[in-house]
């Protein structure tokens, strides 16, 4: 008996299509209930932009419906404002020192707190060298609509794992959240195109902030401008532009 047939077929049909808020999918009671088979109840995972309301699934953001087997669905939307999510890594700006925590601006609706002990190798004696105005790459330990967000620069085992305060140099730019997700996707085509240009360092925060450093200021600026223009280009346009840059036309 295929239970997937009735329930999620409608949703799977819509994968890759553009949906708008208010679109509904009804998962009513199944017509056939098998008593002999002890089939496991199917569980669908609703990602960003989808919401369960009773026996219906309601779309609450406009965007493209995406699907990942077996039953994970989400809406891929282009937006600019970041909403903190637990476990995501972001680039923050230290705005103040308050006692034994730093206040970090990550582009959300409030400031996050970052304890000075949440750095690799930090102890009560050995404080990290972080000043107001510095950039930090950190991940959310607490991100909840009802609580103050909290950042840490260590993973579960106390290692920095690439996180911490940034060194000198480089340039911080802001791009859309959709572009950030495209950059971070495995085998991202934008990243592959960029790798072929010239060596550069990229730090991508889920909050839409991207830090770039290449061997010269000129190259850093080229990479920054290319990234910012990626949002409004189709794949062909982008590849054409990258080819022109490679030939030294720009």
């Amino acid at each position: 008996m295929s239970t997937t047939g009735g329930m999620f077929a409608v949703l799977k049909e819509k994968v890759g299509q553009v949906l708008v808020p208010g679109d509904e999918f009804c998962f009513g009671a199944e017509e056939t209930i098998s008593l002999s088979e002890s089939a496991k109840p199917e569980r669908a995972v609703c990602g960003p932009g989808l919401r369960r309301s009773g026996d219906r699934l309601v779309v609450m953001k406009s965007g493209v419906l995406r699907h990942k087997p077996p039953l994970t669905f989400w809406i891929d939307s282009q937006q600019k404002r970041y909403v903190a999510t637990k476990g995501e890594t972001v680039i923050g700006i230290v705005t103040a020192r308050a006692g034994d925590t730093f206040r970090v601006d990550f582009g959300g609706s409030e400031l996050a707190s970052l304890s000075y002990l949440a750095f690799e190798g930090a102890t009560k004696r050995n404080r990290p060298n972080v000043q107001v105005g510095d950039l930090v790459f950190a991940q959310f330990l607490i991100a909840n609509k009802d609580m103050e967000p909290e950042l840490v620069c260590i993973d579960g085992s106390g290692r920095a794992n690439g996180m911490g305060a940034f060194g000198a140099g480089g340039l911080l730019i802001k791009v859309s959240l959709g572009l950030v997700r495209r950059l971070l996707a495995p085998n991202s085509d934008i990243r592959l195109d960029l790798e072929q240009l010239f060596p550069c360092e990229l730090v991508v925060g889920m909050n839409g902030r991207v830090w770039v450093r290449a061997s010269s200021v000129q190259q850093t600026l080229i990479v920054a401008n290319l990234l910012q223009s990626c949002d409004t280009m189709t794949t062909q346009q982008r590849q054409q532009l990258f080819r022109r840059v490679q030939q030294g036309a720009l």
Partner: protein, 219 residues
């Protein structure tokens, strides 16, 4: 009560562009004939302590007229738009934050409030704010001879006996907000609601096409 209304609903040509401004989190411009409104949405952002609501977001709507400072007329439009948006948005998902919607009137040639509502909906959608449904605005004018004109121009508005604007939701085509001026009978009101509901179908289809066009590059 059975309401009969003319089957063809005429609306002026409308057009829309989303995310045309770089600074706001969401923006849209909406054009209905010669009436044109630009909308910008900021948020969820930090909120002033005095305006903080502990279990939902604070929505602020500002209507900027083409010339001069906002007055009583703009205040009433702000209230109509704000109450409609509050109904459509899922504000409880962003407690203790602020949402600001700025509507700049670029040109007024009738049906301004409905154009403001349409621009607001497109801008909120562009900002990616969680919404339970979409909404659209439809203006109906009743001429001196009792004829219903949808989406009137300013000249038609001036000649009309009554003027009504409805906000219609996309789920059940229910009336979310109504703003009326002039004298009319109950029957005429019901006819206007029915006409607006029919007109809303076309606007919602246009919304969908316009969003699809916007996401065409990431399909």
């Amino acid at each position: 009560m059975e309401v009969s209304a003319p089957s063809n609903v005429s609306l002026r040509e409308f057009g829309c562009e989303q995310s045309l401004l770089s600074r706001p989190d969401g923006s849209a411009s909406f054009v209905q004939g010669d009436t044109s409104v630009m909308a910008g949405v900021y948020g969820p952002a930090e909120v002033k302590v005095s305006k903080e609501i502990y279990d939902r977001a604070t929505l602020e709507v500002l209507v900027q007229p083409k010339v001069g400072l906002p007055s009583v007329r703009e205040r009433s439009q702000e209230q109509c738009v704000r109450e409609t948006c509050e109904e459509a948005l899922l504000l409880t998902l962003h407690p203790r934050s602020s949402l600001t919607l700025v509507l700049q009137v670029l040109h007024d040639d009738g049906s301004l409030l409905s154009c403001c509502l349409n621009a607001a909906c497109m801008a909120l959608m562009d900002a990616g704010l969680p919404m339970s449904c979409l909404f659209c605005g439809v203006t109906c004018a009743i001429s001196a001879y009792g004829q219903i004109i949808t989406d009137p121009t300013s000249a038609q508005e001036k000649e009309s006996r009554a003027l009504m604007t409805f906000a219609i939701d996309s789920k059940e085509r229910k009336v979310m907000m109504s703003s009326t001026k002039g004298s009319f009978s109950v029957h005429e009101l019901q006819q206007c609601v029915a006409v607006s509901q029919r007109a809303s179908e076309r606007i919602f289809q246009f919304y969908r096409d316009s969003v699809r066009r916007r996401y065409s590059k990431s399909l």
